[in-house]
Amino acid sequence: MPLRPRMFSLPALALSTILAMQLDASAAAQPDTQVPGAERIESVTLANGMTVIVWPDHDIPNVALYNWVRVGSRNEVPGITGLAHFFEHMMFNGTSTHPPGDFDRLLEAGGARNNASTSNDVTVYQDWLPRGSLELVLGLEADRLRNLAFDPKVIESERGVVYSERRLSVDDSNFGRLMEQVQATAFLAHPYGIPTVGWPSDIESWKVEDLKKFFATHYAPNNCTLVLVGDVDPKSVIAQIRQHFESIPRQPPAEPIRTKEPQQRGERRVLIEADAQTPLLQFAYHSIAGSDPRLPALELLMRILTDGDASRLHRSLVEERKLAIAADSHIDAGFDPGLAWLFLSLPAQGDLKGAEAAFDAEIEKIRTQGVSAAELNRARNQALADFWRRLATIDGKASALGSYAVLKGGYQKLFDAPHAYEQVTAEDVKKLAVELLRPSNRTVGVLTAAAAASKE
């Protein structure tokens, strides 16, 4: 991402299991979890079904605009894998009223920056602008929803761009290569097995007809949630939005994803031999959907395992036994049950068998013995502090509102999050560990250093 140096977040660097003194005072010591200004949020649904959420915040003279479109690689089939992501690129490449290049040129000349991202579930378009450019940006955003066009020459050059993106993040990255294979192996039926960037042969061969069909099906206003946070007056900005967007015609909803992943009945394994110095281990467990009420408990479980230097996996595998150099986790919390991931990076010539055995022992321990009150309290406080950190920027607010509105059952739930973490009990966490972190429910990915292996 050439122009955005800002958003790298450091892993939280701390934790441990020693009982802190003020431990059970956590509830009493909670700061006021009322979010300042949240009562000023306004939300409307336009006549064409588009959802609009506006949160005024006058701290800086700027606006963060997020358009969440409910389409991702989950909506793809063989032959068009990667199309949702490619489409995200094509949304910047011309309409019947603006030739290719105009969107970025006009936006940047107005002092605004943009980006977009695609996941299994959604495609999100983002603009960060000075308040004076709001009218310009709304006009351009509405135009590309209404009038998108496909220039065959641009399709070809953008194909090259996307392939370069794939080489960067997957083909030249051992971590990316392994993750792609594990994800594809974990799902036999559900399209969550499709890599968001697309399989190479599909990147090379999708056609303009595929794009047109995709646009007509998914880029309907009734499939979009527009979130604006920043230096705006909700009433007048909603009026502006109506003017630009409300006449875009509603479309029939896309076919629902019917396929449910059948229950996994035994561990699956993927092996990659690579020209690598550092081996990798990845564990992907079938998990829960973003709207599942157990999500806060799952988040706390993963924090207990990997958040910071005192977390269980870090402490045991990295610090004490030195079997790994990093332990981390990620939860796919989308429309359908996705994967809960745990990752280990090993040192050069690392002991893969030893690391996996130590990992298994830690997982078994949490499944049989559960978690301590101190650990749970620590994870809660980490979640609470991260909640506040996210809400410190207009960008973070727009991202949080949108993800709760689209994927987690309503934007209001964002403000329940501190309370929801508070409600999670040690028993809830243990139950989830027992249910999800079973060997027969997982896919294990192993990346070995081929050169080192052949020498042995």
């Binding site: 939280a12 701390a14 934790l15 940047e108 107005g110 695609t118 450019s133 370069s164 406080n381």
Partner: protein, 480 residues
């Protein structure tokens, strides 16, 4: 993503590569962007303790958080030549036990209250950043004071951390080649000058550091006279000042003098460093020369011109390498502005077969910059863009903590922020042309670094200049 498609688990790489990623973040400490829409430095209080420590305090009450940014003068500049990575290793070790807490107790104390502390070195400083809930401010002061004044520097922790740092570099070579071009690039550009040192160290540099060396480094390079501590957020200035004064006014000064750094010489002619990554499918390239210092009075003109050339999506460089040709996912350029002139660099990547085509194109874009009369519309667009994005980097307590510390570090006054919009407004076509002529190298004066499949690239790279070859697995970032 339009630029970087979002993949779950990216944070894992970030974890393994925290060193490298943070390096990038730190180089952008002060926004190279402009003000217009009324962004001014909010009121803050500056206190200098008798021992030389500088405290900067700014209240921000929008969310119940406090951020601090503790900057120590020194950084990689002070790394012994054969022990690159010393400063980085030392600052990481500070939280592996300090004061009454061993490493686990320290980590637990932080996490139990949801706080984070991040440590990092840069070319001429080391930095500790913290984020705490407002209710935990006493603990925050205690932990920071312990890290700086009473670190345990435990030998076992030292050995395990040193080993891990070496492995992180190996992991980056396996999964993130793009992040490494600048490290090879600066080593080649600056040579023996301290700005050429790899902040993260190298496999051989880290391996050469003994525990006693590190203890000595702490005594020599850490002390109150080196410290600038900015604290921002939800607190009362009077009580915070009292707590910090009490915590820091007893600290000694650093035992050694800060090394003087001379201005590095601009390079003439062109040479090539080729790093062989035999398994890679893309080539990652970087071309640069010596640029300008942080205090350069041409800052606004340089920001505008670099934005046009390689600092935004529609920049000349990205337009050619990505938008028109589809050769790459991205291309960009930037200045690194330090006490003395740092690097100017442009970088991109493309599949192995099109490496020469992409490098030729990048050089021809540089030719265009030098040859072209600047389009006044483009100049205005770049000025508006820089202005419009500026406030977005000055929003949170931690951003203000970084800015306050940075201003103090470089001896800049608030005009650096408050007056930037006006400075941008004043940038004329003549100013732009002058800085292009004087500050941007031509295609003939560049250090070119390429990481890729050497067997396929070697012959085609000869035309750019004499080639020095290295292997990705070599334990140092500098050619022998």
């Amino acid at each position: 993503m339009k630029r970087m498609w979002s993949r779950p688990g990216r944070n894992v790489i970030a974890h393994a590569l925290a060193l490298i990623l943070v390096l990038i973040a730190c180089q952008t400490i002060v926004p190279a962007k402009a003000d217009d829409a009324g962004v001014h430095v909010p009121p803050f209080e500056r206190v200098q303790l008798d021992n030389g420590a500088v405290l900067l305090l700014m209240e921000r009450h929008d969310v119940p958080l406090i951020a601090f940014n503790a900057v120590m003068r020194g950084g990689a500049l002070t790394d012994p030549a054969q022990q690159s990575g010393m400063s980085q290793l030392l600052v990481h070790l500070l939280e592996k036990g300090a004061g009454k807490r061993d490493a686990f107790a320290f980590a637990d104390a932080l996490a139990s209250v949801g706080a984070t502390i991040a440590t990092d070195a840069d070319t001429e400083s080391t930095v500790i950043q913290g984020s705490f809930l407002a209710r935990d401010q006493a603990l925050m002061v205690e932990l920071l004071a312990d890290m700086l004044q009473r670190p345990r520097l435990d030998q076992t922790q030292f050995e395990s951390l040193r080993a891990r740092q070496i492995e992180f570099i190996r992991a980056a070579k396996d999964s993130d080649l793009e992040s490494l071009t600048g490290i090879y690039g600066k080593a080649a550009l600056f040579g023996a000058h301290p700005y050429g040192r790899s902040v993260i160290g190298s496999e051989s540099g880290l391996a050469g550091i003994a525990h006693a060396d590190l203890e000595r480094h702490y005594q020599e390079q850490y002390g109150a006279d080196r410290l600038i501590l900015a604290v921002t957020g939800d607190f009362q200035t009077a009580s915070m000042k009292r707590a910090l004064t009490q915590a820091f006014n007893g600290w000694r000064k650093a035992a050694a003098a800060l090394p003087a750094v001379t201005a590095p010489a601009r390079q003439t002619g062109r040479r090539v460093v080729l790093i062989d990554a035999p398994d890679s499918v893309q080539s990652y390239f970087w071309a640069g020369n010596v640029g300008v210092a942080r205090t350069s009075p041409e800052r606004a003109s340089l920001d505008v011109v670099n934005t046009l050339f390689g600092g935004r999506f529609t920049s000349m460089l990205n337009t050619e390498l990505r938008i028109r040709s589809g050769l790459s996912y991205g291309a960009r350029s930037r200045f690194e502005r330090l006490t003395q002139p740092g690097s100017w660099q442009m970088s991109s990547y493309t599949q192995t077969d099109t490496t020469q085509q992409a490098i030729d194109l990048a050089l021809s874009v540089l030719d265009q910059l030098h040859a072209q009369m600047l389009d006044p519309t483009a100049l205005e667009s770049a000025k508006t863009y820089v202005q419009g994005q500026f406030p977005l980097a000055l929003e949170t307590a931690d951003e203000w903590a970084r800015v306050l510390a940075d201003l103090a570090f470089y001896g800049l006054d608030r005009g650096y922020i408050d007056g930037y919009g006006e400075a941008l407004d004043k940038v004329s076509s003549d100013d732009a042309r002058r800085v292009i002529r004087e500050r941007f190298p031509t295609r003939d004066d560049l250090i070119l670094v390429v990481i890729g499949k050497a067997a396929a690239l070697r012959d085609s790279l000869r035309k750019y200049g004499p080639i020095t070859e290295m292997k990705l697995s070599d334990p140092s970032f500098a050619a022998k």
